[in-house]
Symmetry: C2
Subunit: 391 residues, 2 copies
């Protein structure tokens, strides 16, 4: 039995998922309450959010002296640094943690929240990719659920409502295919940063937009799916679906396929994670644009053109190898994409650099948190050592 | 807790659904057993089925003296007539009745089986259209489930697994649109029987194929949905989807849409009805052809062109009016389609005749079984009185 309001600890409140989480809380004030909140460097927005939502605890993991100073000024009661993040994630009054930070910073607070018995609404990719074994083992041990906040995993999760995992034949993750789905292969070497940032269906930050162009993002989603739904890699496939209307599918053992669809919206995955097992009624509200099938008119599906997307292959290989390979993948990709965004390497060099790092990587089996972070940091260093050869 | 084998009473074993039900039983002999079986006039096939599945009770509701004689010869132990049907439907050992007769004959046995506490796997359209109030009230009173066996309702039912009915925003039934989806309106008056029998995606008997061309069939499905899922007509819509891959959808109140898909197959709805809440593993078997998305390539959706399909409008109006209007609709349609199939009236006259019958119909509120059957018979008579005006 759920009691209301459900009390939320929110990590990453000023990012896209964080702000949209607050949209939902604003729309359903009887049902949700923010008890603790943390953001990184957008201190002004954090201060506004604190004013509006009146959490009991605020943290600012400021990453520059300037934003730290601003935090002291605007939010004198806020905790600073990693300890603040941990305190927000494990706040005694919180029922559920929305983990919406980007990058590695969310891993330790998420594990701490699981240890403290909080349900987890997980928007952070790296957490499951790098430490899926730690997160899912801890969640099983404590008996807390992990609810995905992203379109593809939320789609699969919604399709699996009322179904048993043993009856899954195959998960089918949809991929828009990004801006280079049809670009002649020999033109990929000349792709510019602004071309790569022009994603056809979703508007996101630069790092994840590049990961969507290379389909690294889709490879990471395959790894996340392996952990979230506990199915082998052989039962996870990707199908290209340029309209991004069907967010993923599940094929059951009896040949029945379940699909989840909507116009692109992160509010739907967020609402599902917050309200499960119920659903929130937003019919007629501005939060969701209704999908009109006659306007959509047609949905297309095609096989993934693997040679076009080496980052996808590298991600799935790293997932299958296990150990710290996925951590090295994450570190190498972050650094390589950063080099590309700064104009230091070409688009094709992203995959070449990552592959070179993975070839050199010394994997550790069943890594603990320290070992996952080490592997990631080590891969970043390797990229910095190697990149000029690919410039 | 389900015990195995699940014991099945099968009405209509020689029709398309009946034979496919036996395919499933044949494939899973540990899980299912036929305890009683009934068919109408295909006595040879019924005798073969009896030989193979060894039911405890056999009935033949032979509709001609010839087939009755044949039944006495080939199946000397078979019960004949209506009493046989009732005995098969309520067999003491049966856990579930598969009601796969066509027409009105299934109504009384289905109600009797509900009274006897059997779960109902319902393939017969007329039962819910004519007596949805009686069937669903009885099922609720006794506490037995009604599982749909047809693509659209099974799709909706599968989408609703793990969901609460209160969270339904809208049911969206897909319609292939039939062979005349794009025919110029002024050519519809010249449609021939063989054109109307050429359904683009499903192969079925002549009556239901004509009902699919006129979309009467889709209108009847709207009425069935109202009873099966207990949602108001205002929350049931139809969308045209010519490929018949997505078998229907449910829009939830939070804007999330769930869809169920497969290549056209009646085995999937049958398996779902028989195995619920589990699913049967047929991966790699010949029973189901796997859907390859790259071969499907594209799915199309468009609004229903209402002026093109007056039978659809008449059906939904009859459903909304309630009383015995749906019974009159069923009777008028059967007779009008029969006249069309015999070349006596034009394609467009089917709807005109039905509309004329409904205008003359004297509806009875909350009809009992006798009143539903009377209304249907009376509508047939009215068609026979009126049709020459439309020839």
């Amino acid at each position: 039995m759920t009691t209301f309001p459900k009390r939320i600890a929110l990590l990453g409140s000023t990012g896209s998922i964080g702000r949209q989480t607050l949209d939902v809380v604003r729309k359903f004030p009887e049902q949700f309450q923010i008890v603790s909140i943390a953001a990184r460097s957008n201190v002004e927005l954090l201060a506004q959010q604190v004013q509006e939502f009146r959490p009991e605890l605020v943290a600012c993991y400021a990453d520059t002296p300037e934003s730290e100073e601003k935090a002291r000024l605007l939010l004198p009661d806020a905790l600073l640094g990693d300890q603040g993040l941990l305190a927000v994630a494990t706040h005694v009054d919180a029922d559920i943690l929305v983990a919406a930070t980007s990058g590695l910073v969310g891993l330790k607070p998420t594990l701490a929240a699981i240890g403290a018995g909080k349900a987890i609404a997980l928007a952070n990719k790296e957490t499951l990719v790098m430490a899926g074994h730690l997160v899912t083992q801890a969640a099983q041990r404590v008996g807390v659920p992990i609810f995905p906040i992203d379109s593809e995993h939320s789609a699969i999760w919604q399709c699996l409502r009322g179904e048993e995992n043993k009856n899954i034949h195959r998960l089918l993750i949809t991929a828009s295919g990004g801006p280079f789905r049809k670009t002649p292969l020999d033109e990929l070497k000349d792709v510019t940063v602004s071309q790569a940032l022009a994603h056809p269906t979703w508007h996101m930050g630069p790092k994840i937009t590049i990961d969507s162009a290379t389909l690294m993002n889709k490879g990471l989603e395959v790894i996340e799916s392996r952990w979230l739904f506990q199915v082998p890699y052989e039962s996870i496939d990707v199908v290209v679906h340029p309209e991004s209307i069907v967010h993923s599918m599940v094929e059951m053992v009896d040949g029945s396929i379940k699909m989840q669809a909507s116009l692109p919206s992160m509010h739907i995955p967020i609402m599902n994670a917050l309200s499960y097992p119920d659903r929130l009624d937003v019919s007629g509200s501005h939060l969701i644009r209704e999908l009109r099938w006659s306007e959509v008119a047609s949905l297309h599906f095609e096989d993934l053109d693997l040679p076009r997307f080496p980052c996808f292959r590298l991600a799935v290989e790293a997932g299958k190898r296990g150990g710290t390979y996925p951590c090295a993948l994450v570190g190498a990709d972050e650094e390589a994409v950063d080099l590309f965004l700064h104009g230091h390497i070409s688009y094709l060099a992203i995959a070449e650099l990552i592959e070179a790092v993975l070839e050199r990587h010394q994997s550790v089996d069943q890594p603990d948190v320290a070992a996952t972070l080490d592997a990631c940091a080590s891969a970043r260093r390797t990229v910095r050592e190697l990149w000029k050869k690919y410039a």
